[in-house]
Symmetry: C2
Subunit: 611 residues, 2 copies
C-alpha cells in the first residue's frame, strides 16, 4: 500500500498551506521542521507498532478474571512505546508533564495514532481527560499527586458518569458520597459503560466520579465530582491499599473490543474513598468545562477511522482489476477506480475526509489562538468558535464517519464484509462514536438549544462571518465562480434557517424546533464542510497559478499528469466542486424542510406508532 | 414486548386495505381467513422457534471440519419445523412441490420468518432460487430428480457464480466444463462466497454452477449453467457417491454468522460431474431470468431486518424512562418516545419500514397479476413494473435498511452497541444485503443503464403513470392537499430528471450519466416511498371518514386516543406527512444536482485522490 491511515500530503497541506501554525513564543520550539518530524514519528509509531494490534485486539478483546481486566496481549508493547515517546500529553503545559506542543500539531499526530487502533488510544484519551479535570479543578496537592503520573501514561484515568438509570439524564444518578472525619468522602454506587474502567496497562487508575453528597439537592444541581484512585496513593506517590473499586462486568460490544467497557462498583465490597475535586455541588459545570475537549476528541476518533477506511478503499480501487472501462471496452480489464460509480464513492469519501480534517484542525487552531492571544476579544471569539463547532465536530462528524466507513466496505464489494480485510472492523468500531460523550441527538440539541442562542446568536454570527471571509477570497479567483456562488447561496439560506429555528426555540413552537434539531445539525455540518472545501480550493488555486500559470482545464490536466503536486491541488478544486455542486443541493432542500416546519413529529400520537 | 419482528396490524393493512389479494381461481383456496391463518402460523414459527436462534447463531457461527460444515446446533430444530410446515415453496406450483399461494401472501409470511433469523432463512432462499432454475430450464428428468426434494427443504441448493477474480464481472470466470461420453460434464474450478455452499441441514445440496465449456467464447457469451449435486442422485432419488464438491474454507464475516459462506472446489480432488441446465452458452440469460426474484428477496431481507429493528426500538422508546418532557418538566421522568429527537427518529424508521412493506408487497402483487391475467397487455405491464422496481427494492431498499438499523441502535443509546440487545446484530447482518446479488452500485447501473431505457422508456412511464393515479385519488381527499401537491411536484421533477439522465446515457455524456446512477436510484427510491405512503394515507383517510366522520385535527386526536384503529389510520397520514414534507425536499435538491450534471467525477484524475 502506498499510504496507510492518513494522507500525509493532505495533512501537510492543511497544517502549512491552509491554516498555518500559530506564531507565538510559547510554540517557538515547534518550527515547521520540528513539527514535520513529530508527525513522522507519530506515523512511524502508528504504522509499525500500533496498527498491527488493531485486528488482534478486535479478535481477542478484553478478558475479565476475578475483577482484573486483561487487555489484548499485543497492546502492551505499543503502550510502552507510547509512554516512552511521551505522546499522551502532547499539547499540555510542560509544568505538569505536558509537551507544550500546539494543539493543531497534536491533532495531526493523533490522527495517525487513533486511526491505527482507536480501542487502544481510547485508554490514553480517557486518561488525558481525567488529568485535565485534575489540572482544572484540583488542589495543589491533587495536582502534585496525580498529574505527571497520568500525563506520562504510567497511571490511567477514566470518567465515572453513567449509571444504568442515568445515561443522557445525568441528573438522575444515585451514587452517593459521605464525608469522613479526615476530609475524604466515602463513595457508594455502581457505574456502567466506563471505558478503560479497569485494565492491566497501568499500575493505577484514577477515577473522577460524579456522585451526590448526602443531603445535596436532586438533579444536576446536587452533583459533586470526586477523585477516586483504584489504589490509594501515598505522599511519596507510591501505591497504598486497594480502594475497592471493583470491576463486576465488561460489555460484549459491536466493536472497540480492545477497550474494556466496565461496570464498576464502589464502596459495595469494602470502603471506597475519594477526595473532592473542585467545589461541592459543582460537578456538572466542571464536567461541562471538559466536555468540548472530550467531544472534539470523539470527532477526531470518527474522522481518523474514516480516513483509514478511505485509504484502504482508495488503495483497493487502484489495484483491484475488475470489468472494463465503459469508454474503452477493448482495452481489457481495468482497476475499479475507473468505474464511475466507484469513483463517485471515493470522491464522496474524500470530500468528507478532507473537509473533516480541515474542520478538526481548524478547531484545534482556534484553541491555539485562544491560548496565546493577549487580545481578550480575539480570545473570546475563538473560544466561542470552539463552542459552536463542537457539536458539529462530534455529532455531524461521527454520523458521517459511519457513512464513510460503510462506503469503504462497499468499494471492497463482498471482500469488504469479511474479516480478512480491515474495513468491516472500522465500521463496527466507528458506530460507538455516535453514542458516547453525549449521543448525536444530544449534540443536535446542544447546537439548537444552547449554542445557537448563546450571547444572543453572536457565536453563530461569527461563524457565518468566517465563512463569508472565505467566500470573499474565493470571489477573486477565476475558475471558482460556480462553487463560490453556490456556497454563498447556501450560507444565506442557512442564516435564514437558523433565525427561523431560533425564533421557534423561544416560542410555543419549542417542540417543533427540537424535532428539527438533528436536521439543523446536518445542514450546518454540510455548510461547514463546503466552507472548508472552498477554502482548500482557494489555497490550491493560488498554488496552481504559481506553479502551472493557468487554471484552464486542458492545461491543468496535462500538467497534473506529470506533476504530483499539481495533481494534488487540482484534486482540491474537484473535491470542492463535488461537494458544493452535487451534495449541497440536497442540503438546500433540507433547509426548505426545516423552514417549512411541518408539525407531524409533534402531532403523531404514541399510539399511532404501533402497539 | 408488544410485538416482535413486524407490526401485524400494518401487514394486514397493506394486504387487505391498501393492495387487496388478487381474485383468481388459481388462488381460490386462499381466502382472507386462510391467508390470515397462514400469516399467524408463520409468525408463531418465527417468534417461538426461529427468533430464539438468532443470537446463538451469531455467537456460535458455522464450523468447518474436514470439509464438513456444522451450522449452529440450534438451527436444526426450526429447520425441521420449517420443512414440516412446508414453508420453502409457498408461492410455487403444486405440480412440482409448491403450495400454490399468492406471492403477496408468501411475502407477508417471509417477512416474519426472515426477520426472525436472516442467516437461517438464507439457506432456504438459496435452495428456492436453485430450484427455480431447475423449474425454468431443467429437463423433465432434472425436474423429476430434484424439484420436490428441494422445494421440501430435504435437499439444499446454492448458486455457484463468484470466483476470486470474477465478482461483479461474471464474464471473467475460469471454471471450466468438459463433456463426457455419457453426456454429463466434468467441472473444474473454485468458487467463492457461496452462501450455504456446504452445511448439515440437508442430506444433499444441489449446486447450479456457471462454467465455460472448453472452446466456448470468452466473456459472458461463453458461459453455461450446470447442475452439480454434492452427492450423485440415483434414478430412485436415493443418494449415490460423493461428487467431490469440497468446501475448503468458510469466511469470517461481519454478520450473518449462522450462514456458511463457502469456498468450494470442484473437480480438483477427484472428478466432479454435472448435467447441463438449459442451453449451451446460455448460462447468463438463465441467471438473469432468475435475478429479479433473487434480488427482490434480498430487498425483503433488508426490509425484514429493518422492521425488526424498528419494533425493538419502538418498544424500548416506550418503556425506557429517561429525562423529562420539555413542556412538562415537573411531571417527572418520561419514556424517551416523548423526546422530539427520539420521536423523529422513530417516525423516520416507521416511514421507511411502512413504505418498504408496501413497495415489496406491491411488487409481489404485480407478480400475482402477471401470473393470473389473460390479458397480454396487462401481463406485460406488470412484468415491466417488476423489472423497474427490482433495483429499487434491492438497491434502494437495502441502503435504507442499514440506515434504519443504525437508527435502531441510536434509540437504544449506549445499550444499542452491546450484544445484550438485538439491534447491533441486526445492523451487522443487514450490511451484507448491500453487497450480494449485485452490489447496490450494480443495481443503480441496472436502473439507469437498462431499465430506464428498455422499450424506449415505457417501463418508467408506466411507473410514473401509476403514481399519477394515486395522486388523482388523493386530490379528491380533503386534508391531504399539502402532501398531494408536494408529491405531484416531485414526480414531475423526477420525470424531467429521468429524461435528462436518459439523454446523457445515449450521448457522449455516458460517463456522467453513470456517475449519477446511484443518486438517481436514491431519488427514484424516495419518490417511490412517498408514493406508497401517500397511497396509504388515501386509504387511511377514507377509513377515518367512515369511522370517525371527520379528518379535523382536534376531533381526530380525541377519537384516536380512544380507538386503536383510528390511531393507526391517523398514523398513516402523519407518516406520509413526515416523509413527503420533511424528507422529500432534500430529494428535490438531489434532483437539481443530477440535472446540473457537474462533471467533477469524470474530471478528477486518479492521481488527485492521493498517492
Amino acid at each position: 500500500m502506498a499510504q496507510l491511515i492518513s494522507d500525509r500530503r493532505d495533512i501537510d497541506f492543511v497544517l502549512h498551506e491552509q491554516l498555518g501554525l500559530v506564531d507565538h513564543e510559547l510554540f517557538e520550539e515547534f518550527n515547521k521542521k520540528t513539527v514535520d518530524l513529530i508527525i513522522s514519528e507519530a506515523r512511524n509509531l502508528a504504522i509499525k507498532e500500533i496498527l498491527p494490534t488493531q485486528q488482534p485486539g478486535d479478535e481477542q478483546g478484553c478478558i475479565l478474571e476475578n475483577g482484573n481486566v486483561k487487555v489484548p496481549e499485543s497492546f502492551q508493547r505499543p503502550w510502552k512505546l507510547y509512554k516512552e515517546g511521551e505522546w499522551l500529553a502532547m499539547a499540555d503545559d510542560p509544568e505538569v508533564g505536558g509537551q507544550g506542543m500546539p494543539k493543531l500539531v497534536s491533532l495531526a499526530a493523533n490522527e495517525y495514532l487513533v486511526g491505527a487502533n482507536p480501542a487502544l488510544l481510547l485508554y490514553s484519551a480517557m486518561t488525558h481527560g481525567a488529568a485535565k479535570l485534575v489540572e482544572a479543578f484540583g488542589t495543589k496537592e491533587q495536582k502534585k499527586l496525580y498529574m505527571k503520573k497520568m500525563f506520562s501514561g504510567e497511571w490511567g484515568g477514566t470518567m465515572l458518569l453513567t449509571e444504568s438509570e442515568a445515561g443522557s439524564d445525568v441528573g438522575a444518578l444515585t451514587t452517593s458520597a459521605e464525608k469522613n472525619d479526615d476530609g475524604t468522602y466515602s463513595i457508594t454506587g455502581t457505574k456502567i459503560f466506563i471505558s478503560g474502567g479497569e485494565h492491566n496497562l497501568c499500575d493505577n487508575i484514577i477515577h473522577p466520579v460524579l456522585a451526590r453528597i448526602k443531603g445535596s439537592p436532586e438533579g444536576t444541581k446536587g452533583i459533586s465530582l470526586f477523585l477516586v484512585p483504584k489504589y490509594h496513593v501515598n505522599q511519596d506517590s507510591s501505591l497504598g491499599e486497594f480502594n475497592n473499586v471493583i470491576c463486576t462486568g465488561i460489555e460484549e460490544k459491536m466493536g472497540i473490543h480492545g477497550n474494556a467497557t466496565c461496570t464498576l462498583s464502589l464502596g459495595e465490597k469494602g470502603k471506597t474513598t475519594g477526595t473532592l475535586l473542585g467545589e461541592i455541588n459543582k460537578g456538572m459545570p466542571a464536567m461541562f468545562k471538559m466536555m468540548n475537549e472530550a467531544r472534539a476528541f470523539v470527532g477526531l476518533q470518527g474522522f481518523a477511522v474514516a480516513s483509514a477506511s478511505y485509504m484502504y478503499a482508495l488503495d483497493y480501487a487502484k489495484t483491484r482489476i475488475q470489468g472494463k472501462n465503459i469508454l474503452k471496452p477493448k482495452n481489457g480489464n481495468v482497476p475499479i477506480i475507473q468505474h464511475p460509480d466507484v469513483k463517485r464513492q471515493l470522491l464522496n469519501m474524500k470530500a468528507w475526509v478532507d473537509g473533516m480534517r480541515s474542520l478538526i484542525y481548524f478547531n484545534g487552531k482556534c484553541s491555539d489562538i485562544a491560548a496565546t492571544t493577549n487580545d481578550e476579544l480575539e480570545k473570546e471569539k475563538y473560544k466561542d468558535m470552539i463552542e459552536l463547532l463542537t457539536p458539529i465536530v462530534k455529532g455531524y462528524g461521527t454520523d458521517k464517519a459511519l457513512e464513510i466507513c460503510s462506503h469503504g466496505i462497499q468499494i471492497f464489494g463482498g471482500y469488504g464484509y469479511i474479516k480478512e480485510f480491515p474495513v468491516e472492523q472500522l465500521m463496527r468500531d466507528s458506530r460507538i462514536f455516535m453514542l458516547y460523550e453525549g449521543t448525536n441527538g444530544i449534540q443536535a440539541i446542544d447546537l439548537v438549544g444552547r449554542k445557537l442562542r448563546m450571547k444572543d446568536g453572536k457565536l453563530f454570527n461569527n461563524f457565518i462571518e468566517e465563512i463569508q471571509n472565505t467566500i470573499k477570497t474565493s470571489q477573486k479567483i477565476k475558475g471558482l465562480e460556480k462553487i463560490t456562488q453556490n456556497l454563498a447561496h447556501a450560507v444565506s439560506k442557512l442564516e435564514i434557517t437558523a433565525q427561523d429555528i431560533k425564533q421557534r426555540m423561544g416560542s410555543e413552537k419549542i417542540l417543533n424546533a427540537f424535532s428539527f434539531a438533528h436536521p439543523f445539525l446536518e445542514v450546518t455540518g454540510d455548510v461547514t464542510m463546503a466552507w472548508m472545501l472552498l477554502w482548500r480550493a482557494c489555497v490550491a488555486s493560488q498554488k496552481i497559478l504559481k506553479k502551472a500559470g493557468s487554471l484552464e482545464k486542458e492545461i491543468l490536466i496535462q500538467k497534473a499528469l506529470k506533476n504530483k503536486d499539481i495533481a494534488f491541488y487540482a484534486g482540491q478544486i474537484k473535491t470542492a466542486e463535488f461537494f458544493i455542486n452535487t451534495i449541497l443541493p440536497s442540503t438546500l432542500g433540507k433547509m426548505d424542510a426545516i423552514m417549512d416546519g411541518d408539525t407531524c413529529v409533534e402531532d403523531i400520537l404514541e399510539q399511532s406508532f404501533g402497539v
